[in-house]
Every structure is written in C-alpha cells, then in structure tokens.
C-alpha cells in the first residue's frame, strides 16, 4: 500500500527555507504570494491489510523517526 507522509515545520516555527523561497519569488516579480512553507514528502510502500492498519503503522513511524515533533507536524495520506 502506498502511503504519503508530509512533514512541515509547525505553525509559528520560522521556516528559513520557505522565507528564502518567498523572498526569491518576490524578487522575480511574482506578486500576491503571502507565505511559502517548505516541507518534505516521504512516500512509503508498506504491507498492510487495510487502510486503518496502514495509518496506524505509519503514524508510529512518523512519531518515532520521520518527523521531529518538537518542531514539525505531519500528515498521512493513504493513496
């Protein structure tokens, strides 16, 4: 089963890479960009009999390794 984990810095934690990209977009003349946040997308292919099992497994992986919950939030999408 394909599972996608998106990891982003928490709201309120300054994202230096997002800031730099935002600044660059502005310099290039793209207007109306209010915020840019840069995160990571982790695509997993895992063995699971149903979506609930897949989600539970990946949640544990995210909490243990894939995200640092001191500074990051994550979302899990089951494809």
């Amino acid at each position: 089963m394909k599972v996608i984990v998106n990891v982003f810095l928490k709201e309120g934690v300054l994202d230096p890479q997002g800031k730099a990209a935002h600044h660059a977009l502005h310099s290039l003349g793209f207007e109306g960009v209010n915020e840019v946040r840069i995160g990571k997308q982790i695509v997993l292919d895992i063995d699971a009999s149903d979506k609930a099992e897949a989600e539970a497994k990946v949640k544990e992986m995210a909490e243990t390794l894939l995200a640092n919950t001191v500074i990051e939030d994550y979302t899990i999408e089951i494809a």
Binding site: P16, V70, I71
Partner: protein
C-alpha cells in the same frame, strides 16, 4: 579521567576530540556506534561533531537509534556525564536527552568561523572553570545550529540555569548568528549531567590555531 568518544559513520571530529582530552591528560577511547555497552570506568561520554549518516532526514535523526545510544542513555540516567558537540548536540536533542531541536540556520548558509560566546551559567559540571558573563572565542561550523525551544520550556530552562552559552559580541552582548532562540549556543538537561553545544571547544586548544579557550571549558569535567 576516562573519556569515551563515540563514532558513527560520518563522524569527523573524533580525533580532534581525543587530541583535546589527551592534551589535558585524560585517557580516551573511541567507541564504534554498533557497540552495545560502554567500557568500565568511563566518566564522560562525548558525542563528537561531524555528519553522522550524512545528516539524512534530519541531522542526528538516524544516529540516535544506533545501538551505542541505548548504553549512553542508560549511562546518563545513572548520572553519567555526556557532552554533545555540534552534530553530537543534534543527536542528543533528537534522542530526547536534551530539550529543543536544531533547525537550518536562518541564512541557510553553512557558517564556519571563530565566534565569541558569553557564558550564561557556570553552576554545572561543564563550565565551572569559566566565569559567568565571560566571553570565550570558539569556532563554529554548522548548517543546522538554529536552536528552537517553545517559550514555556525556555522559561523553565532559564529558571533552572540550563542555558549555558549564548552567541555574543566581544563585550558579551547577544548577537544573531544563526537565528537561535535568544541566541542560544549551548544548553544542558534538567539534572545538569547532559550538555550540548554547537561551537567546537576541541578546536580551540592551541593559541597558534586561534584560541585556547576550549581548554577551560573541557577542564570543567575534571572537577
């Protein structure tokens, strides 16, 4: 004193760290990350700098699961002293042995230079040979040194004397170097036996190389 210096794939400051402690007259031993125990009689474990596991995913995020880290955690829980320098600091925060986390530097650059630091607290097993408010000149070399901690935890750490060092100018006034919360360069845990800092005291052991301020820092562990 017997000092254990950990070594992960990608560690690159282990020999400088050995040199520094041996210069101070201590016995050192390199410990490979696959070891599951620490040698008898170790009084200090140093997690040195480098790029363990290529900094993949997040700096220190993979090294924290190395077999040796279980032994280091048990050592610290029994009151053993642990020092993390640079990547070692990142590993100890990822392992939950130190509060907070280290993000990418605000300017996104790898910053490598001599930097002045102000000693914030010396009432601990690390900085007791330094004066409170003293300014030290120590090299920094990192891309992910931007220390983050939430406000509530920061207030607790301040009240408990867990902030060790802040980036400063030569007069001791805080300066912004990498975007760290309140310019923090080094912290310790609540029980003050686990220490972490981004600057490299082991690279400040010789006047001819720019500074020997690292000597007094590392000598603190002798007390």
């Amino acid at each position: 004193m017997k000092v254990a210096v950990l070594r992960f794939p990608g560690t690159n400051c282990e020999f400088d760290t050995q040199y520094a402690f041996e210069k101070l007259g201590h016995e050192t031993e390199l410990i490979w990350h696959e070891e599951t125990t620490l040698p008898e009689g170790i009084e200090l474990v140093v997690v040195p700098g480098g790029f363990s596991y290529g900094d993949y995913l997040r700096s220190g995020s993979i090294a924290r699961f190395a077999p040796v880290m279980k032994a280091v955690k048990a050592f610290a829980e029994n009151g053993g002293k642990v020092l993390g320098i640079c990547n070692g600091f990142q590993i100890l925060t990822e392992a939950g042995m130190l509060p907070g986390a280290l993000k990418r530097n605000n300017n996104l650059h790898f910053i490598s230079k001599h930097q002045t630091l102000c000693v914030v607290n010396n009432d601990n097993a690390f900085l007791n040979k330094c004066e409170k408010g003293e300014v030290l000149n120590i090299p920094i070399a990192h891309a992910d040194g931007n220390y983050y901690i939430d406000e509530e935890s920061l207030a607790q750490m301040e009240a408990n004397g867990q902030i060790l060092l802040r980036y400063s100018d030569a007069e001791g006034n805080r300066t912004v170097v990498n975007g760290s919360v309140t310019s923090i360069a080094g912290v310790c845990n609540e029980t003050k036996n686990v220490f972490g800092l981004m600057p490299h005291p082991e690279r400040a052991m010789e006047v001819i190389l720019g500074s020997e301020d690292g000597i007094r820092m590392l000598q603190g562990f002798e007390a």
